[in-house]
Assembly symmetry: C2
Homo-oligomer: 266 residues x 2
Amino acid sequence: LRYSSEIAALESKAYMARYQVILAYDGTEFRGYQKQTGARTVQGVFEQSLRKLGWLDRSVLAAGRTDTGVHATGQVLAFNLEWRHSDGDLLRALNADLPADVAVRDLHHAAPDFHPRYDAVSRWYRYHLFCEPVRDPLRERFAWRVWPAVDLEVLNLSAMRLLGRHDFAAFGSPPRLGGSTTRTVSRAHWMEASGQTGVPLIIFEIAADAFLYHMVRRLVSLQVEIGQKVFDREAIRGYLDGEESMPVQGIAPAHGLVLSSVRYQD
Amino acid sequence: LRYSSEIAALESKAYMARYQVILAYDGTEFRGYQKQTGARTVQGVFEQSLRKLGWLDRSVLAAGRTDTGVHATGQVLAFNLEWRHSDGDLLRALNADLPADVAVRDLHHAAPDFHPRYDAVSRWYRYHLFCEPVRDPLRERFAWRVWPAVDLEVLNLSAMRLLGRHDFAAFGSPPRLGGSTTRTVSRAHWMEASGQTGVPLIIFEIAADAFLYHMVRRLVSLQVEIGQKVFDREAIRGYLDGEESMPVQGIAPAHGLVLSSVRYQD
Protein backbone atom coordinates (compact mmCIF):
# COMPACT_ATOMS: atom_id res chain seq x y z
CA LEU A 1 0.00 0.00 0.00
CA ARG A 2 2.74 2.40 1.02
CA TYR A 3 4.70 1.61 -2.12
CA SER A 4 1.75 2.21 -4.47
CA SER A 5 0.85 5.57 -2.84
CA GLU A 6 4.45 6.69 -3.37
CA ILE A 7 4.18 5.79 -7.03
CA ALA A 8 0.89 7.68 -7.24
CA ALA A 9 2.56 10.78 -5.73
CA LEU A 10 5.41 10.57 -8.24
CA GLU A 11 3.01 10.07 -11.12
CA SER A 12 0.95 13.05 -10.05
CA LYS A 13 4.10 15.20 -9.89
CA ALA A 14 4.98 14.07 -13.41
CA TYR A 15 1.64 15.35 -14.71
CA MET A 16 1.80 18.71 -12.87
CA ALA A 17 2.66 21.50 -15.34
CA ARG A 18 2.36 25.24 -15.86
CA TYR A 19 -0.09 26.29 -18.58
CA GLN A 20 -0.39 29.52 -20.52
CA VAL A 21 -3.85 30.51 -21.71
CA ILE A 22 -4.96 33.17 -24.20
CA LEU A 23 -8.33 34.36 -22.95
CA ALA A 24 -11.02 36.36 -24.79
CA TYR A 25 -14.02 37.97 -23.14
CA ASP A 26 -16.89 40.35 -23.79
CA GLY A 27 -16.46 42.65 -20.77
CA THR A 28 -20.03 44.01 -20.78
CA GLU A 29 -21.38 41.76 -18.05
CA PHE A 30 -18.23 41.65 -15.88
CA ARG A 31 -17.09 43.90 -13.05
CA GLY A 32 -13.60 43.83 -14.57
CA TYR A 33 -10.98 41.09 -14.61
CA GLN A 34 -9.91 40.97 -10.96
CA LYS A 35 -11.70 38.72 -8.45
CA GLN A 36 -14.02 40.51 -5.99
CA THR A 37 -16.41 39.04 -3.46
CA GLY A 38 -20.02 39.30 -4.58
CA ALA A 39 -19.24 40.53 -8.11
CA ARG A 40 -19.13 38.64 -11.41
CA THR A 41 -15.52 38.97 -12.60
CA VAL A 42 -13.52 37.27 -15.37
CA GLN A 43 -10.99 35.85 -12.90
CA GLY A 44 -13.77 34.56 -10.64
CA VAL A 45 -15.57 32.82 -13.51
CA PHE A 46 -12.35 31.34 -14.93
CA GLU A 47 -11.14 29.99 -11.58
CA GLN A 48 -14.54 28.42 -10.96
CA SER A 49 -14.23 26.41 -14.20
CA LEU A 50 -10.61 25.52 -13.46
CA ARG A 51 -11.50 24.18 -9.97
CA LYS A 52 -13.84 21.64 -11.58
CA LEU A 53 -10.77 20.18 -13.30
CA GLY A 54 -8.96 19.68 -9.99
CA TRP A 55 -7.12 23.01 -9.70
CA LEU A 56 -6.41 23.79 -6.02
CA ASP A 57 -4.30 27.01 -5.93
CA ARG A 58 -5.41 30.39 -4.58
CA SER A 59 -5.41 32.38 -7.81
CA VAL A 60 -4.37 32.28 -11.45
CA LEU A 61 -1.80 34.80 -12.73
CA ALA A 62 -2.81 37.39 -15.38
CA ALA A 63 -0.94 39.77 -17.69
CA GLY A 64 -3.12 42.70 -16.67
CA ARG A 65 -6.27 43.72 -14.83
CA THR A 66 -8.86 45.08 -17.22
CA ASP A 67 -11.50 47.48 -15.84
CA THR A 68 -15.26 46.97 -15.69
CA GLY A 69 -16.65 46.83 -19.24
CA VAL A 70 -13.26 46.46 -20.99
CA HIS A 71 -13.03 43.52 -23.43
CA ALA A 72 -10.14 41.22 -24.31
CA THR A 73 -9.14 39.07 -27.25
CA GLY A 74 -5.64 38.38 -25.90
CA GLN A 75 -5.53 38.41 -22.09
CA VAL A 76 -2.81 35.99 -20.92
CA LEU A 77 -3.19 33.77 -17.84
CA ALA A 78 -0.95 31.17 -16.22
CA PHE A 79 -1.62 28.43 -13.68
CA ASN A 80 -0.25 25.06 -12.51
CA LEU A 81 -2.42 22.02 -13.05
CA GLU A 82 -2.15 18.27 -12.87
CA TRP A 83 -3.74 17.19 -16.16
CA ARG A 84 -3.36 13.72 -17.65
CA HIS A 85 -4.80 14.46 -21.10
CA SER A 86 -3.74 16.63 -24.05
CA ASP A 87 -3.60 20.45 -24.16
CA GLY A 88 -6.45 20.36 -26.69
CA ASP A 89 -8.56 18.35 -24.26
CA LEU A 90 -7.89 20.91 -21.51
CA LEU A 91 -8.87 23.79 -23.82
CA ARG A 92 -12.12 22.01 -24.77
CA ALA A 93 -12.91 21.06 -21.15
CA LEU A 94 -12.51 24.71 -20.08
CA ASN A 95 -14.54 26.11 -22.99
CA ALA A 96 -17.33 23.59 -22.38
CA ASP A 97 -17.72 24.92 -18.84
CA LEU A 98 -17.04 28.66 -19.29
CA PRO A 99 -20.05 30.94 -19.99
CA ALA A 100 -20.67 32.29 -23.53
CA ASP A 101 -18.92 35.62 -22.84
CA VAL A 102 -15.52 34.07 -21.96
CA ALA A 103 -13.45 31.62 -24.02
CA VAL A 104 -9.98 30.12 -24.04
CA ARG A 105 -8.63 30.96 -27.52
CA ASP A 106 -5.33 29.10 -27.12
CA LEU A 107 -3.60 26.99 -24.47
CA HIS A 108 -0.16 25.41 -24.19
CA HIS A 109 2.55 24.36 -21.77
CA ALA A 110 4.73 27.17 -20.36
CA ALA A 111 8.07 27.23 -18.51
CA PRO A 112 7.61 26.42 -14.78
CA ASP A 113 8.57 30.02 -13.84
CA PHE A 114 6.56 31.78 -16.59
CA HIS A 115 4.77 34.89 -15.27
CA PRO A 116 2.28 36.55 -17.66
CA ARG A 117 2.73 39.99 -16.09
CA TYR A 118 6.43 40.22 -15.20
CA ASP A 119 7.62 38.48 -18.37
CA ALA A 120 5.52 40.64 -20.73
CA VAL A 121 7.57 42.74 -23.18
CA SER A 122 4.67 44.72 -24.64
CA ARG A 123 0.93 45.12 -24.29
CA TRP A 124 -1.35 45.87 -27.25
CA TYR A 125 -4.71 47.58 -26.97
CA ARG A 126 -7.34 48.52 -29.53
CA TYR A 127 -9.92 51.21 -29.07
CA HIS A 128 -12.99 51.09 -31.37
CA LEU A 129 -15.12 54.08 -32.25
CA PHE A 130 -17.50 55.24 -34.96
CA CYS A 131 -18.74 58.69 -35.91
CA GLU A 132 -22.48 59.12 -36.21
CA PRO A 133 -25.15 61.48 -34.91
CA VAL A 134 -27.56 58.67 -33.94
CA ARG A 135 -27.22 55.57 -31.78
CA ASP A 136 -26.42 52.15 -33.32
CA PRO A 137 -27.15 49.15 -31.05
CA LEU A 138 -25.12 46.64 -33.09
CA ARG A 139 -21.90 48.64 -33.09
CA GLU A 140 -22.17 50.24 -29.65
CA ARG A 141 -21.54 47.07 -27.68
CA PHE A 142 -17.87 47.17 -28.70
CA ALA A 143 -17.36 50.76 -29.88
CA TRP A 144 -17.73 54.35 -28.67
CA ARG A 145 -20.09 56.55 -30.72
CA VAL A 146 -18.51 59.95 -31.34
CA TRP A 147 -20.05 63.06 -32.93
CA PRO A 148 -19.00 65.40 -34.60
CA ALA A 149 -16.81 63.18 -36.79
CA VAL A 150 -13.04 63.01 -36.31
CA ASP A 151 -10.41 63.70 -38.97
CA LEU A 152 -8.31 60.54 -39.32
CA GLU A 153 -5.33 62.33 -40.85
CA VAL A 154 -5.18 64.81 -37.97
CA LEU A 155 -5.45 61.88 -35.53
CA ASN A 156 -2.51 60.07 -37.08
CA LEU A 157 -0.31 63.17 -37.11
CA SER A 158 -1.15 63.63 -33.44
CA ALA A 159 -0.63 59.93 -32.57
CA MET A 160 2.93 60.05 -33.96
CA ARG A 161 3.84 62.34 -31.03
CA LEU A 162 3.20 59.46 -28.63
CA LEU A 163 5.87 57.19 -30.09
CA GLY A 164 9.04 56.64 -28.05
CA ARG A 165 9.91 57.11 -24.40
CA HIS A 166 7.85 59.78 -22.57
CA ASP A 167 6.62 60.76 -19.14
CA PHE A 168 2.86 60.05 -19.31
CA ALA A 169 2.07 61.44 -15.80
CA ALA A 170 -0.73 63.61 -17.27
CA PHE A 171 -2.43 60.45 -18.61
CA GLY A 172 -2.64 58.29 -15.50
CA SER A 173 -1.21 57.07 -12.24
CA PRO A 174 1.40 54.33 -11.86
CA PRO A 175 0.38 50.93 -10.46
CA ARG A 176 2.48 51.53 -7.29
CA LEU A 177 2.41 54.84 -5.38
CA GLY A 178 5.51 56.82 -6.31
CA GLY A 179 6.27 54.48 -9.23
CA SER A 180 7.62 55.73 -12.54
CA THR A 181 5.22 57.31 -15.05
CA THR A 182 7.66 56.90 -17.94
CA ARG A 183 6.57 54.46 -20.63
CA THR A 184 7.82 53.52 -24.10
CA VAL A 185 5.18 53.51 -26.83
CA SER A 186 6.11 51.33 -29.82
CA ARG A 187 2.89 51.72 -31.83
CA ALA A 188 0.16 54.39 -31.94
CA HIS A 189 -1.93 54.28 -35.07
CA TRP A 190 -5.48 55.13 -36.18
CA MET A 191 -7.05 53.06 -38.95
CA GLU A 192 -10.36 52.43 -40.64
CA ALA A 193 -12.01 49.01 -40.72
CA SER A 194 -15.34 47.67 -41.88
CA GLY A 195 -17.25 46.76 -38.75
CA GLN A 196 -19.22 43.64 -37.93
CA THR A 197 -22.22 44.76 -39.97
CA GLY A 198 -20.17 46.08 -42.89
CA VAL A 199 -20.34 49.68 -41.65
CA PRO A 200 -17.18 51.69 -41.00
CA LEU A 201 -15.35 51.57 -37.69
CA ILE A 202 -12.31 53.55 -36.55
CA ILE A 203 -9.67 51.63 -34.60
CA PHE A 204 -6.84 53.13 -32.53
CA GLU A 205 -4.08 50.60 -31.93
CA ILE A 206 -1.47 51.29 -29.27
CA ALA A 207 1.40 49.20 -27.90
CA ALA A 208 3.78 49.99 -25.03
CA ASP A 209 6.04 48.22 -22.53
CA ALA A 210 3.30 48.90 -19.95
CA PHE A 211 0.44 51.33 -19.35
CA LEU A 212 -0.61 53.62 -16.49
CA TYR A 213 -4.08 53.33 -14.99
CA HIS A 214 -6.69 54.64 -17.53
CA MET A 215 -3.84 55.74 -19.85
CA VAL A 216 -5.30 54.35 -23.10
CA ARG A 217 -8.76 55.77 -22.42
CA ARG A 218 -7.32 59.23 -21.55
CA LEU A 219 -5.16 59.18 -24.70
CA VAL A 220 -8.23 58.31 -26.79
CA SER A 221 -10.34 61.03 -25.18
CA LEU A 222 -7.75 63.78 -25.81
CA GLN A 223 -7.05 62.59 -29.36
CA VAL A 224 -10.76 62.48 -30.25
CA GLU A 225 -11.04 66.12 -29.19
CA ILE A 226 -7.99 66.89 -31.36
CA GLY A 227 -9.60 64.92 -34.23
CA GLN A 228 -12.79 66.96 -33.77
CA LYS A 229 -10.62 70.12 -33.83
CA VAL A 230 -11.64 71.16 -30.33
CA PHE A 231 -7.90 71.23 -29.60
CA ASP A 232 -4.93 71.91 -31.87
CA ARG A 233 -3.03 68.84 -33.06
CA GLU A 234 0.01 70.00 -31.10
CA ALA A 235 -2.02 69.83 -27.84
CA ILE A 236 -0.81 66.31 -27.13
CA ARG A 237 2.79 67.51 -26.90
CA GLY A 238 1.86 69.84 -24.05
CA TYR A 239 0.73 66.91 -21.94
CA LEU A 240 3.86 64.81 -22.53
CA ASP A 241 7.08 64.97 -20.51
CA GLY A 242 5.62 67.21 -17.80
CA GLU A 243 5.25 70.35 -19.94
CA GLU A 244 1.62 70.69 -18.76
CA SER A 245 1.04 70.01 -15.06
CA MET A 246 -2.76 69.52 -15.34
CA PRO A 247 -3.82 65.91 -15.98
CA VAL A 248 -6.07 65.12 -18.96
CA GLN A 249 -9.69 65.39 -17.80
CA GLY A 250 -11.65 63.21 -20.25
CA ILE A 251 -11.75 59.40 -20.17
CA ALA A 252 -13.14 57.52 -23.17
CA PRO A 253 -15.76 54.91 -22.15
CA ALA A 254 -14.64 51.38 -21.22
CA HIS A 255 -16.82 49.56 -23.78
CA GLY A 256 -14.66 50.69 -26.73
CA LEU A 257 -11.45 49.19 -25.29
CA VAL A 258 -10.01 45.73 -26.06
CA LEU A 259 -6.81 44.20 -24.63
CA SER A 260 -5.75 42.61 -27.91
CA SER A 261 -2.44 40.94 -27.10
CA VAL A 262 0.49 40.64 -24.73
CA ARG A 263 3.88 39.77 -26.19
CA TYR A 264 6.83 37.91 -24.63
CA GLN A 265 10.54 37.48 -25.37
CA ASP A 266 10.45 34.18 -27.27
CA LEU B 1 -65.41 78.09 -25.73
CA ARG B 2 -67.00 76.05 -28.48
CA TYR B 3 -65.18 78.04 -31.12
CA SER B 4 -61.73 77.60 -29.54
CA SER B 5 -62.17 73.84 -29.05
CA GLU B 6 -63.06 73.57 -32.76
CA ILE B 7 -59.86 75.42 -33.62
CA ALA B 8 -57.92 73.12 -31.31
CA ALA B 9 -59.41 70.07 -33.07
CA LEU B 10 -58.47 71.50 -36.48
CA GLU B 11 -54.97 72.35 -35.30
CA SER B 12 -54.48 68.86 -33.90
CA LYS B 13 -55.58 67.36 -37.23
CA ALA B 14 -53.08 69.58 -39.01
CA TYR B 15 -50.23 68.12 -36.91
CA MET B 16 -51.30 64.48 -37.31
CA ALA B 17 -49.02 62.70 -39.78
CA ARG B 18 -47.74 59.26 -40.75
CA TYR B 19 -44.08 58.61 -39.95
CA GLN B 20 -41.67 56.05 -41.34
CA VAL B 21 -38.92 54.85 -39.02
CA ILE B 22 -35.76 52.84 -39.76
CA LEU B 23 -35.15 50.76 -36.64
CA ALA B 24 -31.99 48.92 -35.55
CA TYR B 25 -31.81 46.39 -32.74
CA ASP B 26 -29.57 43.83 -31.13
CA GLY B 27 -31.98 40.89 -31.00
CA THR B 28 -30.16 38.97 -28.25
CA GLU B 29 -32.36 40.08 -25.37
CA PHE B 30 -35.67 40.13 -27.28
CA ARG B 31 -38.24 37.40 -27.83
CA GLY B 32 -38.49 38.53 -31.46
CA TYR B 33 -40.10 41.59 -33.01
CA GLN B 34 -43.79 40.86 -32.51
CA LYS B 35 -45.62 41.94 -29.34
CA GLN B 36 -46.44 39.14 -26.86
CA THR B 37 -47.87 39.37 -23.38
CA GLY B 38 -45.25 38.79 -20.71
CA ALA B 39 -42.26 38.80 -23.09
CA ARG B 40 -39.75 41.53 -23.94
CA THR B 41 -40.25 42.21 -27.66
CA VAL B 42 -39.00 44.95 -30.00
CA GLN B 43 -42.54 46.04 -30.87
CA GLY B 44 -43.52 46.12 -27.19
CA VAL B 45 -40.52 48.24 -26.22
CA PHE B 46 -40.96 50.62 -29.18
CA GLU B 47 -44.68 51.16 -28.59
CA GLN B 48 -44.02 51.85 -24.91
CA SER B 49 -41.67 54.72 -25.85
CA LEU B 50 -44.08 56.00 -28.50
CA ARG B 51 -46.98 56.12 -26.00
CA LYS B 52 -44.99 58.53 -23.83
CA LEU B 53 -45.10 60.95 -26.79
CA GLY B 54 -48.90 60.82 -26.99
CA TRP B 55 -49.36 57.93 -29.43
CA LEU B 56 -52.77 56.28 -28.86
CA ASP B 57 -53.21 53.59 -31.58
CA ARG B 58 -53.29 49.83 -31.06
CA SER B 59 -50.10 48.87 -32.87
CA VAL B 60 -47.38 50.18 -35.14
CA LEU B 61 -46.93 48.63 -38.61
CA ALA B 62 -43.70 46.77 -39.45
CA ALA B 63 -42.07 45.51 -42.65
CA GLY B 64 -41.47 42.06 -41.16
CA ARG B 65 -41.51 40.02 -37.99
CA THR B 66 -38.02 38.94 -37.00
CA ASP B 67 -37.64 35.82 -34.83
CA THR B 68 -36.20 35.57 -31.32
CA GLY B 69 -32.51 36.47 -31.43
CA VAL B 70 -32.52 37.93 -34.97
CA HIS B 71 -31.02 41.42 -35.29
CA ALA B 72 -31.93 44.36 -37.52
CA THR B 73 -30.18 47.40 -38.91
CA GLY B 74 -33.03 48.31 -41.27
CA GLN B 75 -36.41 47.20 -39.92
CA VAL B 76 -39.09 49.64 -41.18
CA LEU B 77 -42.01 50.80 -39.03
CA ALA B 78 -44.91 53.18 -39.65
CA PHE B 79 -47.34 54.93 -37.31
CA ASN B 80 -49.56 58.00 -37.12
CA LEU B 81 -48.69 60.66 -34.56
CA GLU B 82 -49.63 64.19 -33.68
CA TRP B 83 -46.24 65.85 -33.24
CA ARG B 84 -45.71 69.61 -33.17
CA HIS B 85 -41.91 69.63 -33.45
CA SER B 86 -39.40 68.61 -36.11
CA ASP B 87 -38.68 65.06 -37.37
CA GLY B 88 -35.20 65.36 -35.80
CA ASP B 89 -36.77 66.18 -32.43
CA LEU B 90 -39.03 63.12 -32.69
CA LEU B 91 -36.04 60.88 -33.53
CA ARG B 92 -34.09 62.24 -30.54
CA ALA B 93 -37.09 61.96 -28.18
CA LEU B 94 -37.56 58.30 -29.14
CA ASN B 95 -33.86 57.44 -28.87
CA ALA B 96 -33.62 59.14 -25.47
CA ASP B 97 -36.32 56.82 -24.15
CA LEU B 98 -35.54 53.53 -25.98
CA PRO B 99 -33.19 51.05 -24.24
CA ALA B 100 -29.56 50.67 -25.42
CA ASP B 101 -30.34 47.65 -27.64
CA VAL B 102 -32.90 49.48 -29.86
CA ALA B 103 -32.45 52.73 -31.78
CA VAL B 104 -34.22 54.78 -34.42
CA ARG B 105 -31.60 55.21 -37.17
CA ASP B 106 -33.75 57.44 -39.41
CA LEU B 107 -37.22 58.99 -39.30
CA HIS B 108 -39.28 61.00 -41.79
CA HIS B 109 -42.80 61.81 -42.95
CA ALA B 110 -44.48 59.15 -45.12
CA ALA B 111 -47.56 59.18 -47.36
CA PRO B 112 -50.78 58.79 -45.29
CA ASP B 113 -51.39 55.32 -46.79
CA PHE B 114 -47.77 54.05 -46.57
CA HIS B 115 -47.60 50.45 -45.38
CA PRO B 116 -44.09 49.12 -44.57
CA ARG B 117 -45.05 45.50 -45.33
CA TYR B 118 -47.43 45.71 -48.33
CA ASP B 119 -45.47 48.46 -50.09
CA ALA B 120 -42.08 46.71 -49.76
CA VAL B 121 -40.46 45.78 -53.09
CA SER B 122 -37.55 43.81 -51.64
CA ARG B 123 -36.12 42.67 -48.33
CA TRP B 124 -32.39 42.38 -47.68
CA TYR B 125 -30.86 40.08 -45.09
CA ARG B 126 -27.28 39.45 -44.05
CA TYR B 127 -26.05 36.32 -42.35
CA HIS B 128 -22.70 36.54 -40.51
CA LEU B 129 -20.45 33.60 -39.80
CA PHE B 130 -16.81 32.84 -39.09
CA CYS B 131 -14.81 29.63 -39.34
CA GLU B 132 -12.82 28.65 -36.28
CA PRO B 133 -12.33 25.57 -34.12
CA VAL B 134 -12.63 27.50 -30.82
CA ARG B 135 -15.24 29.90 -29.42
CA ASP B 136 -14.85 33.70 -29.75
CA PRO B 137 -17.08 35.74 -27.38
CA LEU B 138 -16.63 39.05 -29.24
CA ARG B 139 -17.70 37.74 -32.64
CA GLU B 140 -20.29 35.22 -31.53
CA ARG B 141 -22.90 37.75 -30.43
CA PHE B 142 -23.59 38.60 -34.08
CA ALA B 143 -22.13 35.65 -35.99
CA TRP B 144 -22.39 31.86 -36.22
CA ARG B 145 -19.16 29.95 -35.57
CA VAL B 146 -18.69 27.19 -38.14
CA TRP B 147 -16.06 24.44 -38.27
CA PRO B 148 -14.64 22.92 -40.50
CA ALA B 149 -14.08 26.01 -42.64
CA VAL B 150 -16.20 26.71 -45.72
CA ASP B 151 -14.89 27.30 -49.25
CA LEU B 152 -16.09 30.75 -50.33
CA GLU B 153 -15.74 30.02 -54.05
CA VAL B 154 -17.89 26.90 -53.78
CA LEU B 155 -20.43 28.93 -51.77
CA ASN B 156 -20.70 31.58 -54.45
CA LEU B 157 -21.09 29.07 -57.25
CA SER B 158 -23.86 27.45 -55.25
CA ALA B 159 -25.52 30.79 -54.33
CA MET B 160 -25.84 31.69 -58.04
CA ARG B 161 -28.40 28.87 -58.36
CA LEU B 162 -30.75 30.79 -56.05
CA LEU B 163 -31.06 33.83 -58.32
CA GLY B 164 -34.34 34.34 -60.15
CA ARG B 165 -37.86 33.01 -59.67
CA HIS B 166 -38.06 29.61 -57.91
CA ASP B 167 -40.36 27.50 -55.78
CA PHE B 168 -38.69 27.54 -52.35
CA ALA B 169 -41.16 25.08 -50.71
CA ALA B 170 -38.24 22.95 -49.42
CA PHE B 171 -36.89 26.00 -47.54
CA GLY B 172 -39.91 27.11 -45.53
CA SER B 173 -43.63 27.59 -45.20
CA PRO B 174 -45.60 30.55 -46.58
CA PRO B 175 -46.99 33.19 -44.17
CA ARG B 176 -50.58 32.09 -44.96
CA LEU B 177 -51.65 28.42 -45.11
CA GLY B 178 -51.84 27.38 -48.76
CA GLY B 179 -50.05 30.54 -49.91
CA SER B 180 -47.51 30.54 -52.71
CA THR B 181 -43.96 29.33 -52.00
CA THR B 182 -42.56 30.97 -55.14
CA ARG B 183 -40.15 33.83 -54.53
CA THR B 184 -37.84 35.94 -56.69
CA VAL B 185 -34.28 36.24 -55.41
CA SER B 186 -32.44 39.31 -56.76
CA ARG B 187 -29.20 38.92 -54.81
CA ALA B 188 -27.41 35.95 -53.21
CA HIS B 189 -23.75 36.58 -52.54
CA TRP B 190 -21.07 35.45 -50.09
CA MET B 191 -18.31 37.90 -49.18
CA GLU B 192 -15.47 38.38 -46.74
CA ALA B 193 -15.30 41.34 -44.34
CA SER B 194 -13.04 42.32 -41.51
CA GLY B 195 -15.09 41.94 -38.37
CA GLN B 196 -15.51 44.29 -35.43
CA THR B 197 -12.19 43.29 -33.90
CA GLY B 198 -10.30 43.24 -37.19
CA VAL B 199 -10.68 39.46 -37.58
CA PRO B 200 -12.29 37.96 -40.68
CA LEU B 201 -16.02 37.45 -40.97
CA ILE B 202 -18.00 35.83 -43.79
CA ILE B 203 -21.23 37.54 -44.82
CA PHE B 204 -24.02 36.05 -46.93
CA GLU B 205 -26.23 38.76 -48.42
CA ILE B 206 -29.59 37.83 -49.88
CA ALA B 207 -32.45 39.92 -51.29
CA ALA B 208 -35.87 38.80 -52.51
CA ASP B 209 -39.37 40.17 -53.03
CA ALA B 210 -40.33 38.29 -49.82
CA PHE B 211 -39.14 35.32 -47.76
CA LEU B 212 -40.78 32.19 -46.40
CA TYR B 213 -40.62 31.40 -42.67
CA HIS B 214 -36.99 30.42 -41.74
CA MET B 215 -36.03 30.53 -45.43
CA VAL B 216 -32.78 32.51 -45.02
CA ARG B 217 -31.59 30.35 -42.11
CA ARG B 218 -32.36 27.12 -44.03
CA LEU B 219 -30.56 28.45 -47.11
CA VAL B 220 -27.52 29.30 -44.97
CA SER B 221 -27.52 25.90 -43.28
CA LEU B 222 -27.62 23.97 -46.56
CA GLN B 223 -25.03 26.21 -48.22
CA VAL B 224 -22.63 25.91 -45.26
CA GLU B 225 -22.77 22.12 -45.65
CA ILE B 226 -22.08 22.56 -49.37
CA GLY B 227 -19.20 24.94 -48.51
CA GLN B 228 -17.83 22.32 -46.10
CA LYS B 229 -18.17 19.75 -48.92
CA VAL B 230 -20.60 17.59 -46.97
CA PHE B 231 -22.88 17.99 -50.00
CA ASP B 232 -22.10 18.52 -53.66
CA ARG B 233 -22.44 22.10 -54.92
CA GLU B 234 -25.30 20.99 -57.17
CA ALA B 235 -27.28 19.86 -54.09
CA ILE B 236 -29.07 23.20 -53.89
CA ARG B 237 -30.65 22.64 -57.31
CA GLY B 238 -32.30 19.48 -56.06
CA TYR B 239 -34.20 21.44 -53.43
CA LEU B 240 -35.44 24.15 -55.79
CA ASP B 241 -38.60 24.01 -57.91
CA GLY B 242 -39.95 20.87 -56.22
CA GLU B 243 -37.31 18.46 -57.59
CA GLU B 244 -36.70 17.13 -54.07
CA SER B 245 -39.80 16.60 -51.95
CA MET B 246 -37.98 16.49 -48.58
CA PRO B 247 -37.61 19.87 -46.86
CA VAL B 248 -34.15 21.07 -45.79
CA GLN B 249 -33.50 19.82 -42.24
CA GLY B 250 -30.89 22.21 -40.84
CA ILE B 251 -31.58 25.78 -39.64
CA ALA B 252 -28.69 28.15 -39.03
CA PRO B 253 -28.90 29.84 -35.60
CA ALA B 254 -30.84 33.11 -35.24
CA HIS B 255 -27.96 35.16 -33.78
CA GLY B 256 -26.10 35.32 -37.15
CA LEU B 257 -29.05 36.89 -38.99
CA VAL B 258 -29.64 40.62 -39.57
CA LEU B 259 -32.57 42.23 -41.40
CA SER B 260 -30.45 44.86 -43.15
CA SER B 261 -32.93 46.79 -45.29
CA VAL B 262 -36.35 46.94 -46.87
CA ARG B 263 -36.74 48.77 -50.17
CA TYR B 264 -39.73 50.61 -51.63
CA GLN B 265 -40.79 51.87 -55.07
CA ASP B 266 -39.65 55.50 -54.76
